[in-house]
């Protein structure tokens, strides 16, 4: 029995900011003070507040320490663990109000959150199955196998209103029902953990923080549709997630939650891991299954849908990690509980990976129907440095930009589609006035051009041509008719591409054209980038009156583009300048301007 638990985040975010060293220090210091028998150090999954990592929580007090450095550990052990004096200087400042300590749930970041898929992340040790069991782990599987028929499970999911969290929002019960309706025989259950959207990391966090919830849900699906084998397709770039999945699989097999005759009901189910090699298109369901089969990851036309003819030509279902993580909770708490959250057509909660120009970078889970304003301003803490919020990009390369004028949109599947974006897997990138929307569209297009598998022409060539037009515009070489041409090409690609990647690739262009056409026009007509991002449209100049001739800029210019003698105004040679901005940063007199 331990009197205190020290929870250190072992998610990828905190690991990269040094949490492994922190855990090591804690173990060392706790041993040195003789507290080994009293204090337990637990490596958990992601707490969500990645911007403040490494994060440490000490129970029973629930003290939330942020940005902990290895040299702080001794102080926490000596003061807090030994003498019970909370180290206030290291507490997350939001939790300290007028010298009183608030609980974490009362902070702006957590107050509006409702954690269902992330309920165990940052709470349990993902490498210890007993901690998962302590929070009702595998109870849902037990209940399904011993008390429910496959039809009951389908009905439960139907009433809950759960829709796929991977992007498209297809009703989960319907997908399962199609596969269940196929004649008995070999069927497969697959988990899509090939999270490829730049900026999205919720699936990784669930796998790292609560891997058993995915395994449990997959076994439930196996029972429901009549499958005995599952596959988790996970990116090889997620080494921590893969390691914890392997540990979880072994523990679940040892305890008999996977394998033969589970709960002595005669139901057999096992799961294998397949590693993806990082192709974005392998997140598309048919390409993913082709890749599991050992072929090059390319999509194929649907129908037949995977529920009829999927992996190895057998009926298969594929759900996203976050979808899986919701299912045990729906079984245990009842579908009505789940359906009580969210909007009319989008039930439950959604996890968003907040990134970009925002204070609290991290992972948040909110009920569907929460407004963008609540997420960006209240939970996220707004844009740093007092900059103005300009737009939010949702859905990664498949989604679009939501302008500031629509900040009060209630976020759910249908509302996002209606305003030209999409939920996607839940990446939410915030942009402020310093972001150029043409440049953003170009960034995402560059990504899809790169990731296009090349199988169908609209995607392979269409996105490339689209990218070239965008590139011309950012160079100031665009024409007004390009804008119309781009729009036409966008619709052509959307209608003709083979898979979801191509069909959604034009979304970033279409939505920025719709909401930020003035920026495109400024690039084309005035050869000007309003946000000051597109290098070809910028010029750095030295204001002769302000220049003291200190030579600092000339010495820092990496290409020797600045000429001038001491105590005389300097001049930038525009033909040599690469617009890196090094001079403007170094100038002490504000004599260099960017136009």
């Amino acid at each position: 029995m331990y009197r205190s638990h020290v929870l250190c985040c072992g998610g990828t975010g905190c690991t990269s900011s040094g949490s492994a060293k922190i855990i090591e220090e804690f173990e060392k210091e706790i041993a040195a003070t003789g507290l080994t028998e009293e204090v337990k150090v637990v490596k958990t999954g992601c707490f969500g507040l990645c911007a403040l990592g490494p994060v440490v929580i000490v129970y029973p007090e629930g003290s939330f320490y942020s940005r902990v450095k290895p040299e702080d550990v001794k102080e926490i052990v000596d003061e807090h663990l030994l003498k019970g004096r909370i180290v206030k200087r290291l507490l997350y400042t939001e939790t300290v109000v007028e010298d009183k300590i608030k609980s974490l749930d009362e902070t702006d970041f957590y107050k509006k959150q409702k954690r269902v898929a992330l309920r165990n992340c940052g709470v349990i040790d993902p490498e210890d199955i007993n901690e998962y069991i302590a929070y009702d782990g595998y109870m849902a599987l037990g209940k399904v196998l011993t008390e429910m028929t496959p039809e009951d499970v389908i009905e439960t999911l139907k009433v809950s209103g759960l829709r796929g969290r991977g992007g498209a929002g297809f009703p989960t019960w319907l997908k399962w029902n199609f596969a269940k309706a196929q004649p008995p025989g070999q069927k497969y259950v697959c988990c899509n953990a090939d999270e490829g959207d730049p900026g999205a990391f919720m699936d990784r966090s669930v796998l790292e923080g609560d891997p058993h919830s995915v395994l449990e849900a997959m076994a439930i699906a196996g029972y429901t549709i009549g499958a005995s084998q599952g596959y988790i397709y996970v990116r090889a770039e997620y080494p921590i997630a893969v390691k914890r999945l392997e540990i979880a699989l072994n523990q679940a097999r040892e305890m008999g939650f996977l394998g033969k005759n589970i709960f002595e009901t005669g139901f057999d189910f096992d799961i294998d891991i397949r590693l993806g090699a990082g192709a974005f298109v392998c997140g598309e369901e048919t390409a993913l299954m082709t890749s599991i089969e050992g072929h090059r990851g390319e999509p194929r036309p649907r129908p037949p849908f995977p529920a009829v003819k999927g992996l190895f030509g057998k009926p298969s279902i594929l759900n996203n990690v976050e979808t899986w993580a919701n299912i045990p909770q729906i079984i245990l708490n009842g579908p009505e509980w789940f359906a009580s959250m969210g909007t009319e057509k989008s039930k439950g909660t959604k996890v968003f990976a907040l990134g970009g120009k925002i204070h609290n970078t991290g992972l948040v889970e909110v009920p569907m129907g929460t407004t963008l304003r609540e997420i960006v301003e209240e939970i996220g803490g707004g844009c740093p440095n007092g900059k103005k919020f300009k737009a939010a990009q949702t859905g990664g390369p498949s989604g679009g930009c939501i302008p500031a004028s629509l900040i009060d949109t209630e976020i759910d599947y249908d509302n996002l589609i209606a305003i030209g974006s999409m939920m996607g897997s839940g990446g939410l990138i915030v942009m402020d006035e310093d972001n150029c929307m043409v440049d953003i569209a170009k960034f995402f297009l560059e990504f899809t051009v790169d990731e296009s598998c090349g199988k169908c022409t609209p995607c392979r060539i269409g996105t490339k041509r689209l990218y070239e037009m965008l590139d011309r515009i950012t160079r100031g070489e665009g024409k007004m008719e390009d804008l119309d041409k781009m729009e036409e090409l966008c619709y052509y690609i959307k209608e003709n591409a083979l898979c979801g990647l191509g069909q959604t690739a034009p979304n970033p262009v279409l939505s920025t054209l719709k909401y930020f056409r003035d920026e495109y026009e400024a690039h084309v007509k005035e050869k000007r980038c309003p946000a000051g991002v597109c290098k070809h449209l910028l010029q750095y100049q030295i204001v002769a009156d302000k220049c003291k001739g200190c030579t600092l800029c000339a010495r820092n210019c990496p290409v020797g583009a600045i000429a001038g003698t001491v105590k005389n105004p300097h001049v930038i040679d525009q033909s040599k300048c690469i617009k890196c901005g090094a001079c403007i940063e170094k100038c002490k007199f504000g004599a260099i301007v960017r136009k």
Partner: protein, 126 residues
Amino acid sequence: MKSLAELQALRDKVKTNMGIRADDSGNTRVVVGMATCGIAAGARPVLQAFTEEVAKKNLQNVTIAQTGCIGICQYEPVVEVFEPGKEKVTYVKMTPEKASQIVQKHLINGQVVQEYTIGAVAGSKL
């Protein structure tokens, strides 16, 4: 794992270790003074005794915590028991043996062990 009942039993067993991470606002709090004076007077074994006894008796609603010096160093080790809605009880000059009695009598049976309280020990001196 053979049945749901077996899983439930396992859950209840492992859950006791996790109670520490739950919301403890309704719990009885046993707070041990662990400043230099307390530690010097032997507060560590007292704290350990409380932790062990509470675990042994499987008390779900008790939180063990430490605090600093409350200013009566000559009476250390000092232990305060806060029960929701009741007056705080302060035990002084604690030992591991006294701790296990307090767990049984006070925390389980609800009887304050008067003879170990500050009122009885310090009496008129305070």
